[in-house]
C-alpha cells in the first residue's frame, strides 16, 4: 500500500472511531426505551424451554438460526470446491494416541450433554456441535485422514441434515396452518430438540470437515484398526 493510501485509510478509520464514540455517548445519554428482554421473559413459559437464550435462538428467532446453518453449509461447499484435501498428519505417537482415545469419547459425551441441557441452562446446538468438531480436529491431528468422519456421501447428508430438518419442520408447521416455524405449544419441546439434534450433527460434521480443508479423501489409509 502506498503512503497516500495508508494515510487515507487511517483518516477514514479515525472518522469512523469518532462516529462510533459519538453514537455510544448518545446511547448512554438517552433514557432506556422499551426493551425486548421483558417481553421475551414473559413469553418464556410458552416457548417450551426455560433457557431464554435457547428460546430466542430456536423459537422467537428460529429463522435467523436457520439462515446461520445455511451460512455454515455454504462455507463447507466453498471449502470443498477448493479441491482435494491434503493427506494430513503422520499417525500419532503413543502419547497423543492414548489422549485421543480418552478425549474423543469424552467430547462426544459432553456434546450430547450440552445438547440436552440447552433447554434449561447454558448450552445448545452450536456449543455441542463445536465439541463434536473439536473431536474431529483431534482425530485429524492424531493421523486420521478424514477426521473421524464417514464417507463423502454420508458427510454430504450429515452436513445438509441441519438445514433440511429445520426447513422441513418449518414447512410442516406451515402446512398445518400455524405459520413458518411457529411451533404448536404441545409439540414445541420435541420439535426444538429434533432441530437441535440435527443441527448439532450438521455443525459438528461441517466444522470437522472444514478442518480437513478440502474434499474428503476417498480411501483413508490413516484409519487404524483398534
Amino acid at each position: 500500500m502506498s503512503r497516500r493510501a495508508s494515510l487515507a485509510v487511517s483518516l477514514l478509520l479515525g472518522l469512523l472511531t469518532l462516529l462510533l464514540l459519538w453514537v455510544f455517548a448518545q446511547a448512554l445519554a438517552q433514557q432506556p426505551g422499551p426493551r425486548l428482554a421483558e417481553l421475551a421473559a414473559t413469553e418464556l413459559p410458552r416457548s417450551a424451554v426455560s433457557n431464554p437464550v435457547t428460546a430466542v435462538l430456536l423459537n422467537y428467532r428460529a429463522y435467523d438460526t436457520l439462515l446461520e446453518l445455511a451460512v455454515l453449509l455454504a462455507a463447507l461447499l466453498g471449502i470443498w470446491s477448493l479441491g482435494a484435501a491434503s493427506p494430513g498428519y503422520q499417525p500419532a505417537g503413543p502419547a497423543l494416541e492414548v489422549m485421543a482415545d480418552w478425549v474423543v469419547p469424552l467430547l462426544i459425551l459432553t456434546g450430547g450433554y450440552l445438547l440436552w441441557v440447552g433447554a434449561h441452562a447454558p448450552g445448545g446446538a452450536f456449543q455441542a456441535g463445536a465439541l463434536l468438531g473439536a473431536a474431529g480436529v483431534i482425530l485429524r491431528l492424531a493421523g486420521h485422514q478424514r477426521a473421524g468422519l464417514p464417507s463423502e456421501s454420508s458427510q454430504r447428508l450429515l452436513a445438509v441434515s441441519g438445514t433440511a430438518v429445520f426447513a422441513a419442520v418449518g414447512l410442516a408447521t406451515l402446512a398445518f396452518g400455524a405459520g413458518f416455524l411457529t411451533y404448536p405449544p404441545d409439540w414445541a419441546k420435541w420439535l426444538i430438540l429434533l432441530i437441535e439434534t440435527a443441527a448439532t450433527l450438521a455443525i459438528g460434521t461441517t466444522l470437522a470437515a472444514a478442518y480437513v480443508g478440502g474434499q474428503p479423501p476417498e480411501n483413508p489409509e490413516g484409519v487404524r484398526s483398534r
Binding site: S86, L114, P122, F126, A130, L131, V137
Partner: protein, 96 residues
C-alpha cells in the same frame, strides 16, 4: 469487595486490549494466531464476567478453539506456499 472487582475488571479489559493489539501487530502469522486464541479465551472470561455464560461457551469453543485450529492450519499452509514460491523464484534465478 466492589473495589477489588473494579480492579479485576480493569486488569481484564487492559489484558484484552493488549492481546488484541499484540495479535493485530504481530508480523508472524503463526504468532498472531496464537495471540488470537489467547484473546478468544480471555474474551470468554469477559463474557462470563458479564453474566453471559452462553456466549462465553460459544466464544471459547468456536471463537478460540475451532477458529484458532482452522487459522493455525491456514497459517501453516500459507507459510508452506510462501516458501515454495520463494524456492521457485530462487531456482528460476539460478537457471537464468
Amino acid at each position: 469487595m466492589t473495589h477489588l472487582l473494579f480492579v479485576f475488571d480493569l486488569v481484564l479489559l487492559a489484558t484484552l486490549l493488549g492481546l488484541a493489539v499484540a495479535a493485530l501487530t504481530s508480523p508472524d502469522p503463526r504468532r498472531a494466531v496464537m495471540l488470537f486464541i489467547a484473546f478468544g479465551l480471555w474474551l470468554a472470561l469477559v463474557w462470563a464476567r458479564l453474566k453471559a455464560p452462553d456466549v462465553a461457551l460459544a466464544e471459547a469453543a468456536i471463537g478460540a478453539g475451532l477458529g484458532g485450529a482452522l487459522m493455525l492450519a491456514a497459517a501453516r499452509r500459507a507459510a508452506r506456499r510462501g516458501t515454495d514460491r520463494l524456492k521457485g523464484r530462487k531456482s528460476g534465478a539460478d537457471q537464468a
